[in-house]
């Protein structure tokens, strides 16, 4: 049997991360990104493997879609709507983002209003075609779109979720015209015209961009197996990504959650809070037996109602700037010092940041910062924090501890929002902390939320790219039903509609290269009490008690339920998974409990109002079974883990650091 080399490639703003799995071992590589043509960095990183082309399997996470959308670098597009609704994107939900700004935010539209073309056609809410679209209207549409020199066209008619006929008639006319088509009833057949039109239009906007990017990459890679990561925890073929590029637009933080889910399965943790803290922001999400998903997301100002991993992002990271506001309150973020000028200790900036506070408190080692590859000026951190402290009449240590306290409060609030506020008790959960800065804050955040255990995975700094190798192929399907569960023949309607989705899913997954035995299908219903506007997604199996499940979840989240009230099925959903082989992480047998071989030096730290001495350990020398009692710092090339004096830790067989409170009797 031929041996495969599996490579995850994660293109980020600064670095392109490579994670390679061959012969049972993982290799990691970082190459500076090439934003103008991201494929350059990819080719450079792959150069030594390209001779083995047929054995390479690449899963690629890209920010091309997100960047193109946020920076508006796409080509001209057009939008076809029902006549009278041409401005649907411009009116949106008729609101302003900032309640108290007299100015109102500036919006940069994806297309000029002259490219929004209204066609005479109409479908009723019940799905009846009131006005069939005429051939003349269709001809007009094609000609006008061509006149706009649009490279892609979005089609979104009122009530098309209830009947796709008119949209499909227009769609057919654009086939073989060399123009990409994004049809709303195809990509998001759900009710609410603005949200559906946004998805169709953003998708159209990204089609030319992603097609060009992937065509170019495929040509250069020449016959290498390539998969593209989506925001929904799974990957798809480049062919599909070109048709539905919007599904890749939020793929950035998805990898970390997938990697955490996989690692959780191996280490026996099924209830996990993931905490990924970077330079400017932190991403948190919940795994409760499975990865949690949401349909309510935003990219920039666009609401994107597609299923993606439910990740909450908060503007608090290592580079977040601390300041005293006009009213004398200590604020941290969301402004960030970024990589340039960076925290004061980088030698350029003078504002104190979270990283500077960590350095002052001794939770970072200047000598071992990023493996010692970078020059650090701790005296600049001291100066910046001290200056702020003088204005607050506080010592430098109290001030630094205050900065950390406020930042931790912001991050634990982000976790609260996705857990406790939804009725989920996180005291049973494990906090998985990764990203460059997470390890310095994880123990304290866990304490604040009463989470008993923290796991800092090996390779915490590049953990997200590991997720690329652990993801399945996933496609999501949905359809609006808007029927109450007491309506006649609802069971056969569900059978029939799910049947339609299943057929579609099976044939498309087949095209993705998955046979029936490697395929798993999960069914869900979006339910609400008749008359409500927000839905709860519950798993559906024939004869399952999904209604009871719905009442239970409603009770959990909103603290009341009405089992006798009428329930409405808003959408049906199907998640199709093509199961891939996962990377088998190596388990290492236990060594003794003493970590002395990894011991480097000692350093003063400040914790809970006291000065203490912490031992610094080199993570690369730690072995399974080693135990470290706080106060201690564990350093490696990408990140630092802080073990406070009221915590202890043990290295597990996968070389993860597992922290728990000292009063706990965990062995």
């Amino acid at each position: 049997m031929k041996k495969n080399i599996r490579i995850g490639i994660d293109t980020g703003g600064t670095f392109t991360d490579f994670i390679l799995f061959a012969n049972g071992t993982l290799h990691i590589k970082k190459i500076p990104s090439t934003p103008k043509d991201p494929s350059k960095a990819i080719l450079q990183g792959l150069s030594s493997y390209l001779k083995d082309r047929p054995s390479l399997q690449i899963v690629h996470g890209t920010t091309v879609a997100t960047n193109s959308l946020l920076q508006r670098t796409g080509k001209p597009i057009a939008l076809l709507t029902t006549k009278g609704f041409e401005d649907v994107l411009f009116i949106g939900r008729q609101t302003r983002n900032q309640l108290y700004s007299l100015k109102g935010e500036t919006k940069v539209p994806l297309l000029p209003s002259s490219h929004c073309i209204g066609l005479s056609e109409r479908t009723s809410a019940s799905g009846q075609v009131i006005k069939k679209i005429s051939c003349e209207q269709i001809r007009k549409a094609v000609n006008t779109v061509k006149k706009c020199r649009a490279k892609a066209v979005a089609i979104s008619f009122i009530n098309s979720y209830a009947n796709t006929e008119n949209e499909r008639a227009v769609h057919r006319a654009f086939e073989n015209q060399g123009i990409h088509v994004s049809r709303s009833s195809q990509i998001l057949p759900e009710y609410r015209e603005f949200e559906r039109t946004v998805v169709a239009t953003v998708n159209a906007y990204l089609m030319p961009v992603i097609s060009q990017y992937l065509d170019n990459l495929e040509r250069k890679l020449n016959k290498v197996s390539l998969r593209i990561m989506q925001s929904n925890e799974g990957h798809i073929s480049p062919e599909t990504a070109k048709k539905e590029p919007i599904r890749t637009a939020l793929s950035g933080p998805a990898g970390g959650v997938v990697a955490a889910y996989d690692l959780g399965k191996r280490t026996g943790y099924h209830q996990i809070v993931t905490f990924d803290m970077g330079g400017t922001s932190s991403d948190v999400s919940l795994i409760d037996g499975q990865i949690q998903r949401t349909h309510e997301n935003k990219i920039g100002e666009f609401p994107i109602r597609l299923p993606i991993i439910d990740i909450n992002t908060v503007g608090a990271g290592g580079g977040s700037i601390a300041y005293l506001d006009k009213g004398g309150s200590l604020r941290v973020g969301p402004q960030s010092a970024g990589a340039d000028p960076g925290p004061a200790c980088y030698g350029k900036g003078s504002h104190p940041t979270v990283t500077d506070a960590n350095l002052v408190l001794g939770r970072l080692s200047a000598e071992h910062f990023l493996g010692g590859q970078m020059d650090i000026y701790p005296e600049r951190s001291q100066e910046a924090v001290k200056k702020m402290g003088q204005r607050m009449h506080k010592s430098i240590w109290e001030t630094a501890a205050g900065i950390i306290k406020v930042a931790n409060a912001n991050m634990s609030k982000a976790i609260r929002v996705i857990s406790i506020e939804r009725g989920i008790d996180v005291r049973q959960f494990v906090l998985f902390s990764f990203g460059g800065a997470g390890g310095m804050h994880a123990a304290e955040i866990a304490s604040m939320l009463q989470i008993p255990t923290v796991l800092v995975p090996k390779n915490a700094g590049v953990f997200s790219s590991l997720g690329l190798l652990q993801a399945d192929s996933i496609k999501d399907y949905s359809m609006t039903l808007l029927r109450t569960t007491d309506s006649s023949s609802i069971d056969s309607v569900l059978d029939q509609k799910f049947g339609e989705l299943e057929n579609k899913a099976q044939s498309e997954m087949n095209n993705e290269g998955f046979s029936l035995e490697n395929m798993a299908l999960e069914k869900y219903l979006d339910l609400r009490y008749y008359g409500q506007s927000f839905e709860i997604t519950v798993p559906y199996r024939k004869n399952s008690d999904h209604l009871n499940e719905f009442h239970k979840i409603h009770e959990r989240i909103y603290s009341y339920s009405h089992p006798d009230r009428l329930v409405e099925i808003v959408n049906i959903r199907l998640k199709a998974m093509g199961i891939t082989q996962k990377v088998q992480l190596k388990k290492i047998s236990k060594a003794g409990s003493s970590p002395d071989k990894a011991r480097l030096t000692k350093q003063n730290i400040y914790y809970k109002g006291k000065q203490e001495q912490a031992v610094i350990y080199d993570r690369s020398f730690l072995k399974p079974g080693n135990r470290i009692f706080g106060p201690a710092l564990v350093v490696d090339t990408e990140s630092t883990t802080f073990i406070p004096s009221d915590f202890r830790s043990e290295i597990d067989p996968y070389l993860n650091i597992v922290l728990s409170g000292k009063e706990e009797t965990r062995v």
Partner: protein
Amino acid sequence: MSEFDPIELELFKNIFVSISEEMGAVLERTALSPNIKERRDFSCALFNKKGETLAQGSHIPVHLGAMPLSVQASLKFIDFEDGDMVILNHPYKGGTHLPDLTCISPVFIKGKLCFFVANRAHHSDVGGMSPGSMPLADEIYQEGLIIPPVKLVRKGKLEPDLFHFILANVRTPEERKGDLMAQIAANHKGINRMKETVAKYGSQKTFQYASLIQDYTERILRQTIDQIPDGKYEFSDYLDDDGISQDPIEIGVKIIIQSDSSIIDFSSSSEQVRGGVNANSAVTYSAVLYVFRSLVNEDIPFNTGLLRPLNIIAPQGKVVNAQFPCATAGGNVETSQRIVDVLLGALHQAVPKKIPAASSGTMNNVTFGGLNPESKRPFAYYETIGGGMGAGFDYDGLSGVHTHMTNSLNTPIEAMENYLPLQIQKYSLRPHSGGHGKSRGGDGIVREYIFLVRTQISIISERRRFAPYGLQGGMSGKKGINMLIRADGTKIKLNSKVNIKAEPGDVLHIETPGGGGYGKKE
């Protein structure tokens, strides 16, 4: 400066603000009527035991000044016990206009009343002479069911008699029931979170920072007012009419800025009127607070601290401080907007580069209802339509948005058509309706409804006679238009405020005003 720890202040600020936001999330997600769940026409807030606001979720500005008055009014009439929840809508006893139902719950800690939580939501029907309860009335009794502060929940138990009584007086009782349940759930969330906070930080510290957070807001507003040149600034503008007579109604203001405080005097405004555009003092307070809050660039909690530097003079019996039993349906939604217009007009003289031209100045309230012949059930619906935003010194106004005192969302057309016997024929921007100038005012909106069954319509709108003003040589925005087009094509021009019946096939055509322009076009 009073003693405080900048770190603790920041932590408590976040806690109080997030509690009010969590309450809002519960209300939005579990309510039944589109007006609450889709349009988010509601507000949630926390108060100290005197009924002073600590923090209010950023929801609807027009509720802002009014909510503490609700709590204070119920303190006057009610002897609170643990587990109670008071409901009210009486505009002269803590309410604003009748459709806004406010629910107030005390937070008892160890047997002592310590805080209040409250939420207010606009219900799409509270009875009265026309569906949607936003009629053209000349006394408050026609506008709907009047609820003075009464206990809907007593010691944790719903009062079934009162509940049935309320539901018997509204057109869509099922929806009201669901919405009220959501309001109760939202207060529960707030009570529990306040109790958790006290359990975690102790009552002394919580009280201390509950007071310090008000000082914080006050401090920042004072710094902001201090930047405005001292002086007297006057401005006046008009409401089209009260819907009963055709007389314009003047709103006049004199703002005196004295170092870090201000006197806002509405003495030159018209007397209260017969039709329902009267504002009670709560509405006027809300408008003043909104304008001064908007002058602050920082992100600050909305609370009683904002009131402290302001001395508001609104003599009793004026249209800005109407007395019982005046009709008030439109005071909250329309007069409040004109009060903002005159306040901004006056402040423009002091800080011309900071203050924009008039925005559309109306919420274009459309209510309708009737009997659905298919389901044999009554329907009632309320919505507002956005307009153009006024242009500023160096920016154009936004088009097709809600401005100033409201920020409620539109209801998706596909949701409306699913639930009501009508079709929307057009929903688009209104080209060239924004005032020209160096900076352009935003455009208004055109909306057309085709009614499929006989439907009773009420419209309360403004800026159909007096256009939104431009500034510094900028043109004014275009006035709004209301029209009914009968199935046979006959066009009937409608007044700014009207009650009318539509027959199947009739089309209601509304064009909303644009925003004023700023500066002479070169």
